[in-house]
């Protein structure tokens, strides 16, 4: 089953919408960017396309060049955290800074490695203290477009808030900074580089605390994360760039299969980001969706392994068992292993899982037939592919790899750069 969180509001507003839908008071292209702000209306161009201001509202808002091609959405930017080049650079420094951990040898980048599309290659992530997490590290590529962050939390909807989870979370420990807030600020304040960057990134912060605060740390990291943009894959060059040489014939055939009703992939992995739960500058309707893909059906009850039951852990609802957000498929070929717990090792295994309409685990503590799960999404009907078709689908998925993202120096570790 699929949960669409705002469905109640949708139903309640039906009558009103029916009446006003064509009243002329609402037009499709009226910019209503809200948090996204004025950036939508001031394209300034950029490397390969249009730029535009990333934020609005603050007096310090400067035109920010996203460098995105025409037609590619821009991330939505909170009004209280407008984009600026210096803030992004500060965020990059913090993202890669091992001083942002309790142990002093761990950073955001420890679990989000650029060459793996900002994942870590592990089935289950390992925090700074060695604690193993119940879930795998999600890709940060295009994370600025996601309306519900992490695997299954509809309440976590801004990168600024989300950054607090790995920093101060204790179950499990990630960066391990809980109780070390003062120490962290002192550590960063002692660095001459930060003494320059924080005031430059937050010039209006003139209160007693100054610009070096936890709030501004998370703001800067979030600003950097919004620039982790994947839009230069072969698929993009073909689909957005009109370059007929970018995709192979096999990948093009795979594309047709991917978007067919035979496979149904696009229902959850659709749109420009190959995911649902997406928002961007100018979008006015934010949907948040979670799905049970029949990965587990322990004992035929629909149960997932205890301690990793998805949305149910937030809502407490039995029907939310095993529901997780559909992650982006961009760069999927370099982000194995797959699923929230890394229990699917390869793309072939993933195709087997979806082709069967759910995974069968024949024995052991998690034994069960996933395709029979009472909580499984109705979109998971299974499909059959010939070997050639399977190769085509894999070629298509591989065409979603943005090699430039994996090596973009603007996103790389600044602490290892030669001055």
């Amino acid at each position: 089953m699929t949960l669409r969180v705002p469905s109640a509001a949708l139903v309640l507003s039906l009558g009103w919408a029916t009446v006003v839908g064509c009243s002329g008071g609402d037009d499709g292209n009226t910019p209503t960017s809200g948090e996204g702000g004025s950036g939508a209306h001031n394209p300034t161009g950029g490397d390969g396309g249009q730029g535009g201001q990333g934020g609005q509202g603050g007096d310090d808002a400067q035109p920010f060049d996203w460098g995105l091609p025409p037609g590619f959405p821009r991330p939505k930017v909170p009004t209280d955290n407008p984009m600026s080049t210096v803030k992004v650079e500060l965020g990059r420094r913090l993202f890669y800074d091992q001083r942002l951990s309790g142990t002093g040898d761990f950073s955001c980048a420890s679990c989000h490695r650029q060459e793996l599309a900002f994942t870590d290659g592990l089935a289950l992530s390992v925090g700074s203290t060695g604690e193993v997490h119940p879930r795998g590290s999600m890709s940060l590529a295009n994370t600025g477009f996601i309306s519900a962050l992490t695997w299954a939390n509809p309440l976590l909807d801004t990168l600024e808030e989300q950054a607090l989870v790995p920093m101060f979370g204790e179950e499990p420990v990630e960066l391990g900074l809980a109780g070390k807030e003062v120490e962290l600020l002192e550590r960063l304040a002692a660095d001459p580089l930060y003494q320059e960057l924080f005031p430059a990134a937050f010039p209006d912060d003139s209160d007693d605390d100054g610009p070096l605060t936890l709030k501004n740390i998370t703001r800067a990291i979030a600003a950097f994360q919004r620039t982790i943009l994947s839009y230069r894959s072969p698929f993009d060059r073909y689909t957005y760039g009109g370059d007929p040489t970018a995709m192979t014939p096999s990948a093009l055939r795979g594309r047709d299969l991917f978007f067919s009703e035979q496979m149904e992939c696009f229902h959850c992995h659709g749109g420009f980001n190959f995911s649902d739960s997406v928002t961007h500058d100018g979008s006015t309707f934010t949907e948040v969706m979670f799905h049970n893909t029949g990965l587990y059906n322990i004992g035929g009850t629909g149960a997932y392994p205890e301690g990793n039951t998805g949305l149910r852990e937030i809502t407490g609802l039995a029907a939310d068992m095993g529901r997780f957000r559909a992650p982006t498929l961009r760069n999927i070929a370099v982000t194995a292993p797959y699923m929230h717990d890394g229990s699917v090792a390869t793309l072939d295994d993933a195709l087997d899982h979806y082709g069967s309409g759910g995974r069968t685990i024949p024995d052991g503590p998690h034994a069960g037939v996933g395709s029979d799960s009472p909580f499984k999404s109705e979109l998971l009907l299974g499909f059959t592919l010939t070997p050639a078709e399977r190769d085509d689908v894999k070629a298509f998925l591989e065409s979603l790899t943005d090699d430039k993202l994996l090596t973009d120096p603007r996103l790389s570790d600044p602490w290892t750069e030669t001055p």
């Binding site: 394209p43 037609g71 689909t239 009109g242």
Partner: protein, 225 residues
């Protein structure tokens, strides 16, 4: 009337009323009547998962001349003569979509009631699209499942003799091979033919900001039997 039949009748009437509202909403705009969809989209051939909804959005806006975003026709080249019983694959590319370009700021003021600020792309209509599909007027070309994301290309073949449109194709891919009947249409039309490809970048069937439509470069050629 039993409570059950009363409830049934009530539900049916509510559904009819909602449908009537949606039908009415689909065609009431006192100050600027919509062009007839059936005329607008009549005869268009859809390929590559392109949708009628996206085409409607493309046709609602006059194309802009942005050379870097223009579709350049590779086959047939200008002045070519195409022969043969089977159609060749027609091919094109965008001149320099990812190149070093700067787009002019051509955003309209937010509340200006311009023709391209149409109902079809309103957030509410998008939000209620499934309901509209269920209860609203029947669409001529229910195209093909997923909404269009990325570039869409409208190929218009016209007869140079009388400027008559011979054929229109709307596709999301960078090639088009006419099927036998389409090839015959091109062969039997007054020659030479001119092909122009207009394109735009779509997000969920709606033209994205500053993303077209863009005028294409024409190619004139002859198709002989």
């Amino acid at each position: 009337m039993t409570p059950w039949t009363r409830r049934l009748a009530c539900t049916a009437l509510s559904t009819l009323a909602a449908s009537a509202l949606l039908h009415a909403g689909a065609c009431t705009q006192a100050t600027s009547p919509e062009p007839d969809d059936e005329d607008l989209l009549a005869g268009v051939i859809y390929r590559g998962g392109a949708t009628d909804e996206a085409l409607r959005a493309l046709l609602a806006v006059a194309p802009e001349d942005v050379p870097a975003q223009a579709a350049v026709i590779d086959v047939p080249v200008h002045g070519a003569t195409l022969t043969g019983a089977t159609a060749p694959e027609l091919r094109w590319h965008i001149r320099d979509a990812f190149g070093d370009m700067r787009l002019p700021d051509r955003r309209p003021p937010p509340n200006l009631p311009l023709p391209w600020n149409d109902r079809a792309s309103s957030p509410l209509r998008r939000a209620f699209a499934p309901l509209l599909d269920l209860l609203g007027p029947e669409r001529e070309a229910r195209a093909h499942g997923s909404p269009l994301n990325g570039r869409g290309y409208l190929l218009v073949f016209t007869s140079s003799d009388d400027d008559q449109v011979v054929m229109r194709v709307f596709t999301s891919v960078l090639t088009y091979t006419p099927d036998p009947s389409e090839w015959e249409r091109l062969q039997t039309a007054a020659q030479p033919l001119t092909l122009v490809i207009t394109n735009a970048v779509f997000e969920d069937n709606v033209i994205a900001e500053d993303a077209g439509p863009f005028a294409g470069e024409p190619s004139t050629f002859i198709v002989s039997p």
